[in-house]
C-alpha cells in the first residue's frame, strides 16, 4: 500500500458514519467555519456571494475573489453578473499583459451570454493588443524613459499606461522605433481633477497625448459663463497647433477627472526629429487628429453666430 493511502485517500468510509454524529459533547454543535470554496461546493451560493462581496470590499483588486464570485453567480444562474465579473478580471489580466488569460475568460463569458456582441469586440481588441506584443516591449522602454522611473511608476503601472495607449492612432500609425523615439522624448505628467492644463490664447508650446482620464475644452461665453465644447480621452492629442504650428491654444483645457498624459515640449520634439528616418510621417501622425484645428473652427463659428 502506498503511503498516500495511509493518509486515508484510498479507503472509503463506512456509510453508516453520519456527519454531525456525536463523539464528544461539543462535537455535535453546528460550527459554521466553512471556507468560500466549501460554500460553493455545498451549493450555498448566496452565502458564498455574501462572503465574497465583503472580501472584495476590503480588497477590490483581488482577482481570485472576483473569479470565485463569477462561479457563485453561475451557481445562482445569474449569468449577467458572472459575465461582468469575468469581463472585469479579463480586462485586468490584459492590462497586465496576460492576454491569453483575458481572452480565455471572455470566451467563458461568451458561453454564458452568446448574444452579447460586446464580448466579441473585447476579445478582438485584446487579440490586437497581443499582436502588438513586440511593439509593446519597445514602447514600454520609451514610457520608462518618459519619466516613469522618476515618477516612481511601477512596471505594472507602465503596462497599464500602455494598455490605454495601445489602440490610439499614434501607436497604430507609428512603428516600434518611432513610438519609442516619441515616448522617450515625452514627459509623463499627472493632473488632478479640475487642474487647468492650458489656457485659451496661450502660446505655450507643448502637446499632450492623453493616456488616461478625461480632459474638457471649454471657453467663456459673453457674461463669463463657461461652455464645454468637447472632451478628450485616452489616445487623443491636444496642443498639436501650439507645438507644431506655433499657434495659440484654441480654448481652455481642464482635467475633468484625474488625468495621466504624455507631454511633448519643443525641446522634446527636436529630440525626436534628430536622426529620425521618416520625420514627415512622424509629424503627420502627431497632427492627424486635428483636434486643435477642429476646435478652433467650432469656436470661430460659435463666436460669429
Amino acid at each position: 500500500m502506498g503511503i498516500k493511502n495511509w493518509f486515508g485517500g484510498g479507503a472509503k468510509q463506512d456509510p453508516g458514519q453520519k456527519p454531525g454524529q456525536p463523539g464528544h459533547p461539543k462535537a455535535g454543535r453546528k460550527e459554521e467555519n466553512y471556507t468560500i470554496d466549501d460554500l460553493i461546493v455545498l451549493e450555498r451560493y448566496d452565502e458564498a456571494v455574501e462572503h465574497l462581496k465583503s472580501k472584495i470590499k476590503l480588497n477590490p483588486n483581488d482577482l481570485h475573489m472576483h473569479l470565485k464570485l463569477a462561479e457563485a453567480y453561475i451557481g445562482l444562474k445569474q449569468y449577467d453578473r458572472a459575465v461582468d465579473e469575468f469581463g472585469y478580471v479579463a480586462e485586468e489580466y490584459a492590462q497586465d499583459g496576460f492576454y491569453e488569460k483575458g481572452i480565455a475568460l471572455l470566451s467563458k463569458a461568451q458561453k454564458l451570454a452568446p448574444m452579447d456582441q460586446s464580448l466579441r469586440f473585447r476579445i478582438e481588441r485584446i487579440q490586437r493588443e497581443k499582436s502588438m506584443e513586440n511593439v509593446r516591449a519597445i514602447a514600454l522602454e520609451g514610457l520608462r524613459q518618459a519619466g516613469g522611473e522618476k515618477a516612481s511608476t511601477s512596471a505594472v503601472e507602465l503596462k497599464r499606461l500602455w494598455h490605454y495607449l495601445a489602440t490610439s492612432s499614434v501607436v497604430q500609425h507609428l512603428n516600434g522605433d518611432q513610438i519609442k523615439r516619441l515616448f522617450s522624448s515625452m514627459e509623463l505628467v499627472r493632473a488632478d481633477k479640475d487642474a487647468i492644463l492650458a489656457e485659451e490664447g496661450s502660446r505655450e508650446s507643448f502637446l499632450l497625448l492623453i493616456v488616461n482620464g478625461v480632459v474638457e475644452a471649454y471657453f467663456h461665453q459673453e457674461g463669463g459663463k463657461e461652455m464645454t465644447m468637447r472632451t478628450y480621452t485616452s489616445g487623443d492629442i491636444i496642443g498639436e497647433g501650439p507645438l507644431l504650428e506655433r499657434g495659440a491654444w484654441p480654448a481652455h483645457f481642464r482635467a475633468q477627472e484625474p488625468v495621466v498624459a504624455l507631454k511633448l515640449t519643443r525641446e522634446g520634439l527636436e529630440k525626436t526629429l534628430v536622426g529620425n528616418p521618416d520625420p514627415r510621417n512622424f509629424l503627420e501622425v502627431l497632427r492627424e487628429q486635428h483636434n486643435d484645428r477642429d476646435l478652433a473652427a467650432t469656436l470661430r463659428r460659435l463666436r460669429t453666430a
Binding site: 502506498g2 503511503i3 498516500k4 493511502n5 495511509w6 493518509f7 486515508g8 485517500g9 484510498g10 479507503a11 472509503k12 468510509q13 463506512d14 456509510p15 453508516g16 458514519q17 453520519k18 456527519p19 454531525g20 454524529q21 456525536p22 463523539g23 464528544h24 461539543k26 462535537a27 455535535g28 453546528k30 460550527e31 459554521e32 467555519n33 466553512y34 471556507t35 470554496d37 466549501d38 460553493i40 461546493v41 455545498l42 451549493e43
Partner: protein
Amino acid sequence: MAILPIRIYPDPVLRVKCRDVTEFDEKLRRTAADMVQTMHAAPGVGLAAPQVGFDFRLAVIDLSVGEDPQQLYVIVNPEVAAREGAETAEEGCLSLPGITDKVERPTLVTVKAQDLQGKPVEIRAEGWLARAFCHEIDHLNGVLFTDHLRGLRKERVKRQLKRLAAEQEVTA
C-alpha cells in the same frame, strides 16, 4: 479503548480552529488512546482531533501504522515552529475518502508541542513525517489538504468534494 467514527467532509467540525488543551487528565489520555486505535483501524498514518469530532489541539501520528511503537507520536497543542525546504507529494485524508492530490509541504519541520503529561516537547521531522505533522496541524487549524491546491487541481478537487458532499447527504 474504542474506535471512533471518523468525520467526513463536509462535516463542519473539520473547519473548526481548535482550542488549546489545558487539562492533561485521564480523559485526555483515554481520548488519545481511542484516536490511536481509530487511526490504526482505518488504517491511517495520522489523525487529528477534529476528524473524530473533538475541537481541541490533539493529534496522533504513526508512519508504521502500529508496526513500530517507536514511531508513534501523540502531540498536544502542536505548532510548526520552523520549516525548511519544499517538496511535492501525493496526499490523502481519512476525512476526504477517495480524494488524493499532490501537495507542496516543507521538507523539514520543527514542531513544538506538549506530551500527554503537559511536558513541552520539540520534534524535528523530515520527509513523510514532516508532511504528516503539517497535515495534522493543518487539521487543528481547520485547514484541509485540498485548500493548498490551486488552478486546475483545485477545480478538479472541487468536483470531487461536491460528489463527496452529495454522498454524505444521502447517507445522513
